[in-house]
Every structure is written in C-alpha cells, then in structure tokens.
Symmetry: C2
C-alpha cells in the first residue's frame, strides 16, 4: 500500500490557497527555523518598542545591578525553575503533534496562532476595554466579523471571543433567558407595548418581535430591564424548558444550574441511531410541554457532539420552529457548534457565499479540501445542517477546537446585535459615556478582564487562512478526510489476530465530522461487561494511565454511553458487536474508544498508510498485553 502515489496537500491547489505544511511547526519540528526566526523577530520588535518609548528615559536596571550577588542569585533561581518547568512539560504533556495521537479533539496548533499569541502577550492588552487594548480590541472586532461571515449572519450580527465553549453556551442561555423575560417585564412597566397579550402569548413571542418592541420602549428600556430576568429572579421559573439532545454536553447541566433555571429545566431529547437529535421526538417533546402550558424557552442543536461528532439536523430544527410559530409558539434556537463550527468554512466560496450542493464536490477537489474523489463527505444531512446555521439566534464556536488555536479561546456569535441590550452593563471607569469608542466589550459579555493576546492569536490565524474553502476549509477538510479514511479502514479491517484469539473491531457510525468511535470485542464474547473491560483496559494502555506518555506508541481517548444518558440509542450498535440485548439491559453502558482526527496530514495517502501500519501494530501489541 505504501507504493500508492503520494497525494500531498498541495498538488491540487492554486496559488491563492494555503499550503498546510507551511502553517504548522510540524510533527518533527520541520519548520523549526522559521518558528525560531519569527519569535526572535517579534520579540525584537517588542524590545525595541520598549526602548524607543521616550528614548530619552534612562535605563533603570543598570549594568552594575547585574553584577550584584542578589541579581545573579535571582536569575539563577529563575533559570533553575525554567529548567524544571521544561522538564515537567516534556514528561507530562500529551504528544498532540504526532499522528500517533488519535483521541481528543487536539492536534498541534497553528504557527500563526502561536506566534500571534506570543507577540501580543508581551504587550498584554486587556480586551475588556478599548482603552486598555486599542490594537487587540480592534482585532477582536475583526474576529467577530469573521465569525459572522462564517455563519452567514448579516451586518446585524456580532461576535466575540470568550474563555471557552462552556462560557459561550452560558452566554447563549443568558441571552435567551433575558430576552424571553422581556415581554413579562413590559407587561409590568409599559403595558401599552404588549396590550391584549395573554401571559401565554407573552411567553411565546419570537426574538425579533421582542427586539422590535425593545426599540419602541425608548427611555423606558432601563426600567424594563430592571423587571426582566436581569433585574429580578421572579420570572425565570415561568420561561419553560430548554431542550438539548440526549447526548448532552455537561456544560448544559452547569448552564441550567448557573443561570438559575435549575438543571431540571434542561430537557434531553432522544437521539437517533446516528446520535443526532430525533426530530419526531423534538416535535413530540414540544407538544407535550406546550399542551400542559409549559413554554419552550429554547432548543439547542449541536454541530459536532462531543462524544460522537454527530451533527444535528439544524435545518429540521428550524423547520420545527417555523411550524410551531404558526401556532403562536416561538422558541429560541442556540446552535452549539463549539466543536464543528469552523467546518462551515468548507462550504464557503472565496466570496463567503454558501456553495451550492451540486458544485461542492468539485470545489472541494479544486481547492484540496478533499484529495480523493471517493471521499463521500459531507452527506446531504450534514450539508443541510451547516447551511441552516444562519437561522439560529446564537451560535457557540471554539477557536481552540477546530480553529487549531491554543487554549483558551471560545467564541459566541449573535444574530442580531440588538440582543446585547438584554444583557448589557456599563461601569464608569471602564466605559466613558458618549466617547466614540469602537468597542465596549466588557459591557456585553459574561467575563471581565481578558487577554488581548487571544484575539491577536485568532486574528493572525484568520488573516493568514480565510474562513472559507481557500483557507480553513482546506485544513478542516484534511481532518475530515482523514477520519473518513480511518472509519473505512476499520470497516475493512474487521479484526485483529491476537495470539490465538480474534479481536473484532466495530466502528460506531460513519462520521458526520472528524470523529471515529469504535470498540473491540473478542470474537465469540457475548458478555458486555467483558467487552467494556477490554475497551477500558485498552484505553488505559493507550493513555497516561499505564505507560509514560512519551514512550507510548498509540494514544486515544474513550467514553461511556450509558442507558441513563442515551436510552436505547446504542442498542443496535451493541447488538452489532455480537452482544445480546439482555446484556445491554443488565450492564447499562457500553465503553467506546474515541478518535478525533485533527492531524492536517492524514489525508495524504502515504502518511495515512504509514501511521495505520503503526497503529495496527500498536493495537495488536496492546491487546496482547491485555489478553495474554
């Protein structure tokens, strides 16, 4: 297989596209010289900037200071600590950079992002206020606009960087909660604005209708806000249920807690065999609650579920909203695309228009977003889901996941910037009233002080690699294609011979995105507990648990699907592994191995074959250790 013609990332591209190999330090530090030269240049720029700020000012640390014993001792101590730091980092970090790591949604991160962070950290802007960070505040504005283009929000949209996807999800729920409580507050403060509306109608107004009324409230808006969920807790209990897919990320439970709704407000909706929210179940759930006069505060669609990489039918969730809207039931839609959001860049042409389905394949090939025509990604379902994202009210998107940006960088995008009025604050010292300041970020987000360096990091990456098929599309396509290949490799593989045993391998489901879940089972075994133990032991062998990370030859991650969380959705898969239904009912969970393919290089056949060989050898070796 190694004789296959090499297809590299750049054979098919035109000059305007990005060559991914120039964007990463590389699994073997191949771009070491460039990285080194760049940090030195950026550091030198900074050092000279310091010196030339009022060049007439004298140095404060004198050459004679450097000869003092206390200076020498202090610097020695710093040196020693840096050596200790470096040693700890090398011994206790996960080698994300190697294609031998196929586990969490990690790989090496982008050189532009690392260099951008490093440079801006030296200047240490605080993006809470423009005053403390003119340069990086403007970069965050740019990034917000990039986000809006990525999800096809109009000029009315707005976005910002936040600490992580959990914070972004809280912010989405915060918007929903506060906005949906506004009509109840209007009833108290400006009843003329909501005349003749029943309580049910007030609780079921659409976001745009509420925003239009807020526009009409004029000077009364502050008082309305004081009576909304922002000002008083008393209305929160009336707002109804927040629907999330059954495969729920735990941040939603935290969100229900933190935002004061209570975890019991978070209602899981069953998922189908593909681990996507079941749309009939969604409809049923909404009917069930609304028939009991319990409103639906909002619905979360997930683009890239944390455990399966599943992409919910955002288009169908939007359809359901439109259906119910006709009967006066309006709910908020938040798309949690923390994981999958950046993948929308694959679908965007150079001018950021959404590429028609019948042209997509050709465009992907043309730009090298996929290299192999036989890669059947995306499915029609996935295409439609990504397209419909523009219909959501808010979207979570994490640069530190598929943006290949170092931690911590999450993000949120808001469809209509007027929504910010429902959560905004002002503090005297941070915001000068009436001043013509381009950004007042701290007034419109959950966090306070925040690193300008994060904005610089994301800005630099976006600037080098546009959020469309010529830039990020290629990068994310590479991971997706690698995942597609891995899935089919495991499908074809079917089993490993381990001593005198045959161990079968079962990929969970054709991936919607770049995540491949799979399990091992010893042929003939019908005991789910034994199968779970095998996969759990495999995870321990393929992680920090059993062997030093640095000498491990294959690393992956794992998860459990439990009956409590997943209902019977995993049953069909479990049966496919040769385990009878009674076992599922008895054991109530299945342990799954979980491989995200983020490596930008595994789409290349030669590299893929090479690392699959290494993976197969490692799998057999680890299984031998466990079973032998």
């Amino acid at each position: 297989m190694e004789k296959d013609i090499e297809k590299s990332n750049d054979t098919l591209e035109n000059n305007e596209d990005i060559n991914l190999k120039a964007m990463f330090l590389g699994p073997k530090s191949e771009n070491e010289e460039f990285f080194e030269e760049s940090i030195l240049k950026l550091f030198n720029d900074h050092a000279e900037w310091r010196k030339n700020f009022h060049p007439e000012d004298e140095t404060i640390i004198k050459v004679s200071d450097e000869r003092k014993e206390s200076f020498i001792v202090s610097k020695d101590r710093l040196r020693e600590v840096l050596i200790e730091l470096s040693s700890k980092l090398r011994a206790g970090s996960v080698p994300w950079h190697s294609p031998r790591f196929l586990g969490h949604m990690n790989s090496e991160t982008l050189m532009p992002a690392l260099l951008g962070y490093f440079a801006a950290m030296l200047y240490n802007g605080n993006n809470v206020a423009y005053e403390s960070s003119p340069a990086t505040s403007e970069m965050e504005e740019d990034v917000g606009e990039d986000f809006c283009k990525l999800v096809s929000y109009s000029n009315n949209g707005w976005g910002h960087i936040c600490a992580d996807g959990s914070i972004a999800n809280y912010e989405g729920l915060w918007y929903a909660r506060n906005i949906k409580s506004i009509p109840l507050a209007m009833k108290e403060v400006t009843p003329e604005l909501v005349e003749l509306k029943s309580e049910w109608e007030l609780l079921n107004m659409s976001v745009s209708e509420i925003l239009d009324l807020m526009d009409k409230a004029g000077e009364k808006l502050d008082e309305i806000k004081e009576h909304s969920a922002r000002g008083m807790g008393d209305k929160i209990g009336m707002l109804g249920k927040w629907l999330i897919p059954q495969t729920k990320h735990y941040s939603w439970l935290k969100a229900g807690d933190i935002l004061g709704l209570g975890v019991d407000t978070m209602v899981p909706v069953k998922v189908d065999n593909h681990y996507r929210m079941d749309i009939d179940e969604l409809r049923k759930t909404i009917e069930e609650y609304t028939s009991k006069n319990i409103p639906i505060l909002g619905v979360v669609g997930v683009v890239g579920s944390t455990e399966e990489g599943a992409v919910d039918h955002i288009d169908k969730i939007v359809e359901v909203r439109d259906e119910f809207s006709k009967n006066g039931i309006n709910f908020y839609i938040h798309v949690d695309a923390a994981y999958g959001g950046y993948a929308r860049s694959i679908f965007l042409d150079e001018d950021y228009s959404f590429i028609p389905e019948n042209q997509l394949k050709d465009k992907m090939i043309e730009h090298g977003a996929i290299l192999d025509k036989s890669t059947l990604w995306p499915s029609k379902d996935v295409y439609n889901a990504f397209k419909a994202m523009e219909k959501a009210d808010t979207i979570t998107i994490d640069p530190h996941k598929m943006g290949y940006i170092p931690y911590s960088a999450g993000g949120i995008i808001v469809k209509d910037k007027r929504m910010r009025d429902s959560i905004s604050y002002f503090a005297t010292y941070v915001f000068e009233k009436g001043a013509d300041i381009p950004s007042l970020l701290g007034a419109f987000m959950l966090e306070g002080s925040k690193a300008g360096a994060t904005a610089a990091s994301v800005w630099t990456a976006h600037k080098v690699m546009p959020l469309n098929i010529t830039g990020y599309g290629k990068l994310i396509g590479a991971g997706n294609e690698g995942a597609y290949k891995l899935y089919h490799k495991l499908e074809m593989q079917k089993s490993y011979k381990v001593g005198d045993k045959i161990v079968d391998v079962y990929p969970l489901v054709e991936p919607d995105f770049n995540m491949v879940d799979f399990t091992f089972n010893v042929r003939g075994n019908k005991d789910l507990k034994i199968m779970n133990d095998l996969n759990h032991n495999f995870y321990e062998e393929a992680s920090y648990v059993k062997e030093a990370l640095y000498v491990n030859n294959f690393l992956t991650s794992h998860t459990d699907f439990t009956l409590g969380d997943y209902g019977d959705s995993p049953l069909k898969f479990v049966e496919g592994c040769g385990i009878p239904r009674e076992e599922w009912n008895r054991v109530e969970k299945v342990t799954i191995l979980r491989a995200c393919v983020l490596s930008p290089f595994l789409n290349c056949d030669k590299v893929f074959q090479e690392y699959m060989k290494k993976m197969d050898e490692a799998i057999v070796q680890k299984l031998e250790k466990i079973l032998g």
Copy 2:
C-alpha cells in the same frame, strides 16, 4: 533632590530574597539577552521533544515540500501578516512598562510568567481534565495550594485558576447560593436531617453546619442537590440579599443577573469617607432586612476597590457575622480580593505565618518590602483586614493584577473543599470514575476547557517568588511604597503654575494600597462642572484619546464618582477642592484621575524623583494645552 542617596531594591536584602530587577524584562528591555536566550532554550526543548517522540517516525513536511511554490507563497503570507500584527501591536498598545504610565492596575509583567506561558503554550495542555494535561494540571494543584497558604486556609482549603476576577466572583456567589439552598432541599428530601427547624432557621444556617449535614446525607446527597438551587430554580428567590460595598464593581451586578438572583438582590452598603464599607451601615442593613424576615445570603468585603484601592474592614465584617450568628442569623462571607489579594504576601514570614504587627515594620525593612522607614504602610486597619481574610468562606484573587501575570488569570480560593459538592458535575468522557486522578478540575468550576499555559505561567512565577515577604511581598511592597510616595508628593506639591493660573491638585485619600486618586482644580473655581471638565480633558490628553499612545509623555486613567452610586461619600473631598455642597447636589458626580502604582522601581528614590520630574512637566504641559 536627584542627589539623594540611591536606594535600590537590593541594598537591604539577604541572599534568599528576590532581586526584582532580575524578574522583569525592564522598562528599557535591559534584560533582553536573558529573555531571548530563555525563549530559545524553551523552544528548543520543545522542538527536540517533538522530534524525539518516536524518533523512528519520519518527517512529514519534506525538504522538497519547502521548495514548492504554494509553500513559499503561504509562508510569505504568514510573514506579511506577522509584520502587520507587530506593527498594529506597537502602534496600539499601552506602554505599561514605563513609569510614565500611572493609570490602570498594569505594569510590565514578570519574566517567569511570560516565559512559563510561552513554554507551556507550545504543549497546549487543557486543564479541564488531568488526562489532557498531566503536567499543567499538577501545576494548577500547586498554585491552588499556594493560594491557600497565602490566605492562611488550612489543609481543607482549595483553590484554582479561572479566567478572571468576574468569573471568580460569580463562582463565589454560586457557592453561596447553592450551599444556602441545601437546607431547604434537605427539608424536602431528608427531613430527618433538619428536624424541627423553621424555614427561617433553614435559611440562616452557617456554612459549616450545612457542610456537616451534607456529610451525613450519604447516598441521598445527589437527590438533595437535585432539590437545591442547582437542580431547581424555585428556591433562589427565598435566599435573601447579597450585600456589597456601595463602591461596587460592576461584576456584582452581572453576577446577580447571571446567577438568576436578579440585580435587585445585590444591596449596596454605604461606604465611609475612606471608601470602605461602613460597618454601622452594614449592621443597620442586616437588621433592616432580617427584621422583615428577609435573610442575608452573604456579604462581600473588598480588598482593594477598583476605583480607590480601598480595603474593607474584613475583620469587622467577620465580627458582625459572629454577632448576628449568636442570634441565629448566619450569612456567607466572600472577599473580593481580585485586586489586593497578592498583597497578603507582605504579611507572611518565610514559613507563611502571619507576622505580628509589632514585628512587621522591621521585617519589611529587613526584606526590602519597604525601603524607607518613614513609609507608614500599612495602617492598623489595613493590617487587621488582611489578617482576617482567613475567616472568609471564599476569596477572589487575580494573578493578572498584583500577581504581575499576563492576562487572563483570575483565581478563587475556597475555605472548605467540601463546599465543592454543592456545585460539582461529572461528565463521562472527561472523568473516569474511580480512577485515581489527582485533579478533576472541570467538575468543580464554572469554566470548561482552559489553558494549561496559564497554570504554568502562575506556577513559574510562584516558584521563583514565594508568596511571602521574601518574594511577592517585596514586589508588592515596592508598588505600595511608590504609591505612598506619590500620594505625599501630591500632598506637598499642592499646585502647579500654568501660565497665569494656579492649578491645585488634591489627592483623594491616603492609599490603603497602591492606588492614588486625585483631581485638579483651577484655583478659585467653584463650579464642579468646570472642575470635572478639566479632569476629563486631562484624562483625554493623558490617554489614547488625544494623542498617539506611543508619543504621549504621561498616561493615566480616570473614573467618575456619582451621587447615584456613591451617595454623599465624596462630598467631603469635593468640598476640600473648594467646591460648595450645592454644586455636588447639582452636578451629582465628580471626575477623578486614578493612578495605580505597580511599577516595581518607583520605590527607589532616584527613579521616583526622575519620573516625578517628568510627570510634573507633562502635567503642566497638558494643563497648558487645556487651559491655554
């Protein structure tokens, strides 16, 4: 004055103390070579680590790849963007590093912190889970222990890094809200645990009493949590009021909103002329509410208010709690030491014991935490306040403020780690049940994914500079002494001659910490609006607003004290500026200039005199421009 004997940071220290001049890159990049050498070494360590992870694995980016046009074009694009980035950063960043900047709580940050961040960012650990970051997760554990030592919490304490002080404050309120709702939940789930207690008694239990009952709940604890504020929103409205000083930081209004209590739950308590919470007013407020059967959820004491650097009487707040406790009224105490927290290191001896008051001065001199015996800091009030911090339930502390760590690094410290049960979550994929993992951070904090690099940055700084009088104490002492000198300089200065006018300068109040607020007024002016305009115009001249940051010769910040927020607390000061009371009633706000002294070098007389001369010249020049 320049002939004064130079007192530098290191004349008085013994070998074990830190020489601050070895800890910073320096206002003129004096330590440039060391910094450069260190980043190269750390980067080289990382690059070799990549190469030597399975040295048998081939390179993926080949030398021949580097010759491809697309590679060259892509790298060129990256180079261009880095040049643009660097240019934007230099043009639009605030020169925190220069003693000409005396505004926000910023200065240059510590070399160990910058280098620590840079190194760890290359490895990109995610401290949400140990599995993704063994090295940096352990560093965060260490930092948590450092925090506990800093505030004299026992072994039962616990702390972690969070995105910023606002998030830490939300977390404090989250703890208070969930814990205080537990007794109501017990009444529903395990009534036998709270037998005979009235609703009022349930709402007024002490934190330790509640934690002891939680210990007794055994397997019922999960069900209790489902009935607490975590699980259901219905009890939040019963928990009562959250008392904050009138000088409230806006994060508390956001906290009330986000946590679902409503902003109207946040009750401001008047401050005295020193801008500290008035303890009689606190007592009165508590009596007022409790006499109406409205409980007090908690009280916030602030150590370093954002606008004044005021330190609340934490000791007296604790006394008030103990008084009311005798009458069965128990409330939570959160100390918001986001700004001032690190200053507690001044009070800690090498063994982290709190230095007796009568020895403090000598110890400070001995270790160089102050250089000049005539520096009368701290006052008895401030000493007592810092000492009493150990009595609080939770404490916010920001490494990115007085820890001299780059953004974003906040922190929270919890007195009794059992409190974590009230907020904890578990997610299958992140946390392996039963595994012996040293840290499960994501289950016990508001955020999700977070940069391991932040932990490495703080860890490196703490490791080099212990959180006691031999390390951080010296650094924070330097800023405090600089502020003390600035305050007395302005006191002595009294006025500036500007053309034919005399402009008087009025420092607000002797600083509790390192912040000096002041105003200008043209002698003879009795119009508050005119005085405010003068100070506002001065701010505009001394910031990015009127002149490019890079050529400005003096930079500061400003704030408004309004009647609405501050009541009459500023009246005495306003009158002292020659403005009659009627003007205060008419204009309802006073604009203040605000100078935090964080420079580690202004405690040295020579440097201080040099920069005061520059400041005086800049002040006169700016006032001439405004008045001329």
